[in-house]
Subunit: 305 residues, 2 copies
Amino acid sequence: MSLVVVGSVAYDGIETPHGKRERALGGACTYIALSASYFTEASIVGVVGEDFASEDRHLLASKGIDLEGLEQVPGKTFFWAGKYSDDMNDRTTLRTDLNVFADFNPKLPASYVRKPYLFLGNIQPLLQRDVQRQMPALRFVGGDTMNYWINDYRPDLLEAIRSWDFLLINDSEARLLSGEYNLRRAAQKILEMGPNTLIIKRGEYGAMLVRRDSLFMVPGYLLEDVFDPTGAGDCFAGGFVGYLAERGFDLRNGNFDVHELHRAVIYGSVMGSFCCEQFGVERFRTLTRKDIDARFDEFRRFTAF
Amino acid sequence: MSLVVVGSVAYDGIETPHGKRERALGGACTYIALSASYFTEASIVGVVGEDFASEDRHLLASKGIDLEGLEQVPGKTFFWAGKYSDDMNDRTTLRTDLNVFADFNPKLPASYVRKPYLFLGNIQPLLQRDVQRQMPALRFVGGDTMNYWINDYRPDLLEAIRSWDFLLINDSEARLLSGEYNLRRAAQKILEMGPNTLIIKRGEYGAMLVRRDSLFMVPGYLLEDVFDPTGAGDCFAGGFVGYLAERGFDLRNGNFDVHELHRAVIYGSVMGSFCCEQFGVERFRTLTRKDIDARFDEFRRFTAF
């Protein structure tokens, strides 16, 4: 069933030990929607400038992504550039030009309003809240955030996430949000803030899903070559929500099989791992659902005991 | 079936954010044997000084550990002191007094010679080799090492591990030994050095087991309080070999269920996690096999999808 994704659409300059791209299609919303498109219809809410290339629009459209909510306005598309360390565990931001994204005010097309699933990418928390308020028929809503909003917009963020079904962040964000270093304690505190489900991404070390009554952990997929980790966390999010949307999952109705949530974490991990295999969104040009399901099975094999 | 463990028996001075111990029973051999004793009869080969306390000897004996190979000589027992960082991911060595351990030359009692299982703790590689040569009826032999031997005694180390069935080291040691940062590549290179099975410990992030034809990964157990990580890696080793010994596992006969090796990794993880719950070896005073099996089942639950 149909999923609405809100967030940044951008161009990225990327440098890793494997090479360099001056200007590649990027942005959280782009990665999330591309990843989710293997499971469900994804509808984008974002903004781009006049420089947004028609080939990039075509790539998204070729995956069945609904672009009605992708606004094009005068000015330039959000541009970010960064460089990864040799082991790719750190990256330095070289440039951030918000451009048209600075005034992003998500506009929900009428055709999106009754859609059942919403994923709120990392943007100003009150904008996240406003989008959610316009969608009265949600079967789940969740989102991402980042250190900037946690530090400087904490009351807004707490208000936004109070009514989310799930929060999907990385380990350092979980520590910052909760004030607890230990992830088990951090998770308990965050579950008191509203979401019934917390997913913590741990990069190469995998991910975990925590609810009041259950815990699930999965190690990271061991790639032989990590070309470019950009977007891996967003692809994780896209695989996670995409799978739940495909299954028609209702997080608001307590009567479900928690293993479906665990499988969604595996699909998230699978999508994050594929993302790292080539620069930017390149891997999605050739990736098939068959590849995805094969790697899901591989996860079963390498975690079985 | 009976397991011989060779390595250091020591006293440790430990400081963590949770407290301090001036002088606690420690040493790799101690932790490995204590951990393995929950699964099989463990026989120690080590050396201590005149200061070795009878209560510590009694603790080991109370777990059925065979102390015939624990030599007591004039001088003082190996002493190590260290302090952990606030997040306990780093530790600083404050003092290392090798004392009687400086001249450790493992002497195998006649009653040990025909035992089927041997785990060689981290000591000089040629000493490891010499012990192994004295045991003609082995059904498996494996061991640990450290950066010092990898860097400064590389030819000796390569000679020693060539005939091991398994090598059990941590991720930074695997990178150092192989010259590869990527763990998948590192593992492939190490498997060409002799061992058919490589186990890589990743601390709080879990562990992996790699063979030519299979890969197994498990996330770390998520403790709410890590009191003291000292010895956790050695307890992992003890759980791993202890379980295999209990099952009468023969790593030299290719005809086995690889899932048994995976379950041994889980038992290793279980024992490592218990070790962190109290200072030094304290947790083993009260730990029962029932506790261990309950945590094994917990691992099943939190990795099931």
